[in-house]
């Protein structure tokens, strides 16, 4: 039972991070109905910047992370303004291509500048366990990750519900054209979505690699992106809370399946994500909490 508990807790922590990246995907999807394939790599670059500040320039990581989140937000806006804004999101092919191209570019830049060596980030949360029961223990890391993910989600929900900018965002997400007609500056709102997504992604990636069991390298986010995409689709691509549920379900599935079914190797984790993706899209295309879309013929 102890081991089971430990695995559940691990799964939940990983799941919460998948959920955070999924949240970034959902934000952009809500605003513009496009899936940002480059999200993982954007986050990875952010994590590298945190590394540079924290390790090479000795900035305390709790200062470095918010700083880089602001930088990433700016980067997100720049990406949107210079590239994404030029394309009509309803025409899928160019947008998919461009975000995949960005994936390749950002990944190559990271690999060229930082190389493929794995790097270790300083820990953000205190080491050791908050509680322990037998062998199972709740690490501060797990607790911290959960808390941060939930706080982000709560903060975002409040922002969208009770502020003026949130209202504008919801207007754009519901019907872009009508929002424009009533005087919302659509591009500003979408740029804001990109900024928030980039910042959240950076945070998630930094937390992900700050786990003492993981390391930072340019390839680390490919896997996370696949899980996050599956989580976002599972939760419903336009539902903020759905992404949390989806992320945690996938994190649990990964941790428990790989932990318990002995013949299932760790590599199969990605296949689990792929399977989830296909099943959800087949049987419930709008995910667990997504709004159903009705296409008028």
């Amino acid at each position: 039972v102890d081991l089971f508990l430990a695995r559940v807790l691990d799964g939940v922590a990983t799941g919460a991070l998948y959920a955070s990246v999924a949240l970034a995907l959902v934000l952009i999807y809500k605003a513009t109905a496009l899936i940002n394939f480059a999200q993982g790599e954007m986050a990875m670059i952010g994590a590298f910047l945190v590394y540079v500040l924290a390790v090479e320039h000795n900035v305390p990581i709790l200062v470095a992370l918010p700083l880089v989140m602001v930088l990433s937000a700016a980067g997100g806006v720049v990406l949107h303004r210079t590239i994404i804004q030029r394309f009509d999101p309803r025409d899928h092919l160019p947008v998919v291509m461009v975000t995949l191209g960005l994936l390749l570019v950002l990944n190559a830049i990271a690999a060229i500048v930082f190389g493929y060596d794995a790097r270790r980030l300083p820990q953000i949360f205190p080491e050791g366990n908050a509680f322990s029961f037998g062998i199972a223990s709740l690490r501060w890391y797990t607790l911290g990750v959960l808390a941060v993910s939930c706080l982000t989600l709560v903060g975002l929900t409040l922002l969208l519900k009770y502020t003026r900018i949130g209202l504008k965002f919801r207007a754009v997400a519901t019907t872009l054209d009508s929002a424009q007609l009533v005087g919302v500056r659509v591009n500003g709102v979408i740029a804001l979505a990109w900024a928030m997504a980039a910042a959240i992604g950076t945070m998630a990636a930094t937390l992900y690699v700050s786990d003492p069991l993981r390391q930072l390298d340019p390839l680390v986010m490919e896997r996370v992106l696949i899980f996050a995409a599956a989580a976002a689709v599972l939760g419903g691509l336009d539902s903020l809370w759905g992404s949390l549920v989806g992320g945690i379900i996938l994190g649990l599935a990964e941790s428990l399946v790989v932990g318990y079914v002995s013949w299932v190797p760790p590599e199969l984790g990605m296949v689990v994500a792929l399977g989830t993706l296909i099943l959800v899209l087949l049987w419930r295309p709008s995910g667990l909490y997504g709004a159903k879309t009705i296409v008028r013929v």
Binding site: A33, L34, I35, F37, I83, R86, F87, H92, L93, P94, V95, V96, M97, V98, L100, G101, L102, L103, L104, V105, L106, N107, A108, I109, A111, I112, V113, G115, E222, I226, A229, A230, V233, W263, P265, E267, L268, M270, V271, A273, L274, L277, I278, L281, L282, P285, V297
Partner: protein
């Protein structure tokens, strides 16, 4: 500028002859690995890259069939290439099937797999389909490394195609330089007059195998796309509802496009295995899928010529960028990473802005060219009331991705 049809077909044959001649001479030039200077770098060209370019063209063709002609945003061509390459090697090394049988079997399996993957794709579309298929391509290396499959796939080590390509003795593959070396001008310098060694002759032979297969595959796919099935495939892209209303079985057509794409992708994998003779899991991951996508975008996703151009770009850009180790103004250490990915990614971002239809449509000779002769036969069928009939003139006139503007062509359609 109306050109009399006789002279047109004469120039066409002349061009074809010149191309054939070039295709025969080129491997003998490249086998000597000529090099040229590019921005202060010594760039070496070899025959493998040319053979690989043709395999890549076939891979890009698999995407073009599905994305360009059928309008389904399925990006798993890299996955099929992987399956084809692995399967053909396993069938020839482990099972011991002779000569072309492994390739034929792998292509058949890939066609089946394509249809299988097409089944869920019937209900998934647009960005979602792109997401699922790109994930499939990204998962391939993990699948290959599964312990359960490790005995067959070699896990992370990859697989080696045993033996080496050997030119048949009845063909003068090795002795051809004795003849070609005397071509005035290029012969003595670029080819030389010594016969090739066994391994060189093997490489040249592999090139010819790949060349002939590639031409055959393009010809076959062109035939399918020009016929009844092809018109159905295009009509589904242009307007599913209208296609269905005109008697096209949309689901079956999409599955056929998937199977065709799977088969072509598998064939590309077989050619890859024939050229490289070694496969590794990482060769067929996310990066390959995006590279193929780049090839499709560069060439133009609605033309077969685009697939050919794109394939060459996919093979040659990385081959050249990886040899550029010095650039004025850039520290050398920034040039020994994955500069190929950087270049391709940047182009992938820039291209949709500059030329959304690809280079072939942008720079290609006036819309018509080769198709103008072959089309009068099939266009009237399309307008005459059989399966491929489409409501608006839109899709018929805009035959495979070309907006027809030439006067002669317009008149053939009106006929």
């Amino acid at each position: 500028m109306p050109i009399p049809s006789l002279s047109r077909s004469t120039t066409r044959y002349a061009r074809l002859l010149a191309l054939t001649f070039a295709a025969i001479v080129l491997p003998y030039v490249l086998i000597n690995t000529p090099s040229f200077a590019l921005l202060g770098n010594n760039v070496v060209l070899n025959l493998g890259t040319l053979s690989l370019a043709m395999a890549a063209s076939v891979g890009v063709l698999a995407l073009v069939v599905l994305v360009g002609y059928n309008g389904q945003l399925a990006l798993a061509a890299g996955f099929f290439m992987g399956v084809g390459a692995y399967l053909s090697i396993i069938l020839s090394d482990r099972v011991g099937l002779p000569s072309v049988l492994p390739a034929v079997a792998s292509v058949a399996v890939c066609a089946g797999l394509g249809a299988l993957i097409g089944l869920p794709a019937l209900r998934i579309r647009g960005t979602y389909l792109a997401l699922v298929t790109i994930t499939l391509a990204a998962v391939f290396p993990a699948l290959v490394r599964l312990p359960a499959l490790k005995d067959y796939t070699g896990g992370s080590d990859g697989l080696l195609l045993e033996g080496q390509s050997e030119a048949p003795t009845w063909l003068p593959v090795a002795d051809a330089p004795l003849l070609l070396g005397h071509i005035p001008g290029i012969g003595p310098f670029l080819i030389g007059t010594r016969p090739l060694g066994i391994s060189q002759a093997g490489n040249v032979w592999a090139y010819f195998v790949v060349l002939i297969s590639t031409v055959f595959i393009f010809w076959l796919v062109a035939g399918v796309l020009r016929g009844r099935t092809g018109r159905a495939i295009i009509s589904v892209r242009d307007n599913e509802i209208a296609a269905a209303a005109n008697g096209v079985n949309v689901g079956r057509t999409k599955l056929m496009a998937f199977a065709l794409s799977g088969a072509v992708g598998g064939a590309a994998g077989c050619l890859y295995a024939e050229v490289y003779r070694i496969v590794a899991p990482e060769s067929f991951g996310l990066t390959l899928a995006i590279y193929l996508l780049f090839g499709m975008i560069l060439g133009g996703h609605r033309t077969m010529a685009g697939a050919a151009v794109g394939g060459f770009a996919v093979a040659y850009l990385p081959a050249i960028t990886s040899q550029i180790t010095h650039l004025p103004g850039v520290p050398d250490r920034y040039l020994n990473g994955p500069t190929a990915s950087l270049t391709l990614g940047l182009l992938l971002v820039i291209f949709p802005m500059l030329m959304p239809a690809g280079v072939v449509e942008k720079f290609g000779r006036r819309g018509g060219g080769r198709r103008a002769e072959s089309s009068p036969g099939d266009e009237p069928v399309a307008t005459a009331g059989t399966e491929g009939v489409l409501p608006a003139s839109d899709s018929v006139v805009r035959a495979p991705g070309r907006i027809i503007t030439t006067p002669d062509r317009r008149s053939t359609v009106v006929d």
